[in-house]
Symmetry: C2
Subunit: 115 residues, 2 copies
């Protein structure tokens, strides 16, 4: 981080911004166990088709996901699994701190019911 100039800082910031939306995290989460098409992601995430499509386009622009058309479907998959390292790091930090809510830790130890 020490050798970052102005342009690089903006680029890094944009990368973080791509991860700074719950719906996009949800989509990335849904892609953890392999590629899925837009319909599947729409259903899994609970968003509208147009909205998910927009998020996927953005994620693809930042190379967080790879796009591949097959027939009338378009399949997306994680471009680089290290994105999950990022999330694990963040979850670890948040879990340690529990700043905004005292019981935030519960959120991370609870078994996944909502997605």
């Amino acid at each position: 981080m020490s050798a970052l100039n102005e342009q690089a800082l903006e680029y890094v910031a944009k990368y973080f911004k791509a991860l700074a939306e719950p719906m996009r995290l949800k989509v990335l989460n849904a892609l953890q166990d392999g590629e899925k098409n837009v319909s599947q992601l729409t259903q899994l995430s609970g968003g509208t088709q147009a909205n998910i499509s927009k998020h996927l386009t953005l994620l693809a622009q930042y190379n967080l996901v790879k796009r591949e058309s097959r027939g009338t479907n378009v399949y997306y998959r994680i471009a680089d699994p290290s994105v999950y390292e990022l999330c694990e790091l963040v979850c670890g930090q948040i879990g340690k701190r529990m700043t905004l809510e005292e019981d935030i830790k519960k959120l991370f130890t609870a078994t996944s019911q909502t997605n």
Copy 2:
């Protein structure tokens, strides 16, 4: 990341959002070699005092920095060095990909002149 419910996703997203501004990254960057007060950070980052103060308040809310008043000064320091791990991970990924600009890699290997 697999055990995240809706609230946790929002929390993680907000955490990323805290890192999604160039000026805040600049401030965190300036704090790498130890605590600094608001005046110092204002000067180092090139922002206005009010603006830096706002960013610092936000960073403190997310426990990215710790605040400590001493006399009329307020000193801030990195709360958890693992935030730099995040940045390194992101820089590494961006460096590998060079997506938006072909010569983005130069940005990360160049010696720091701008900050």
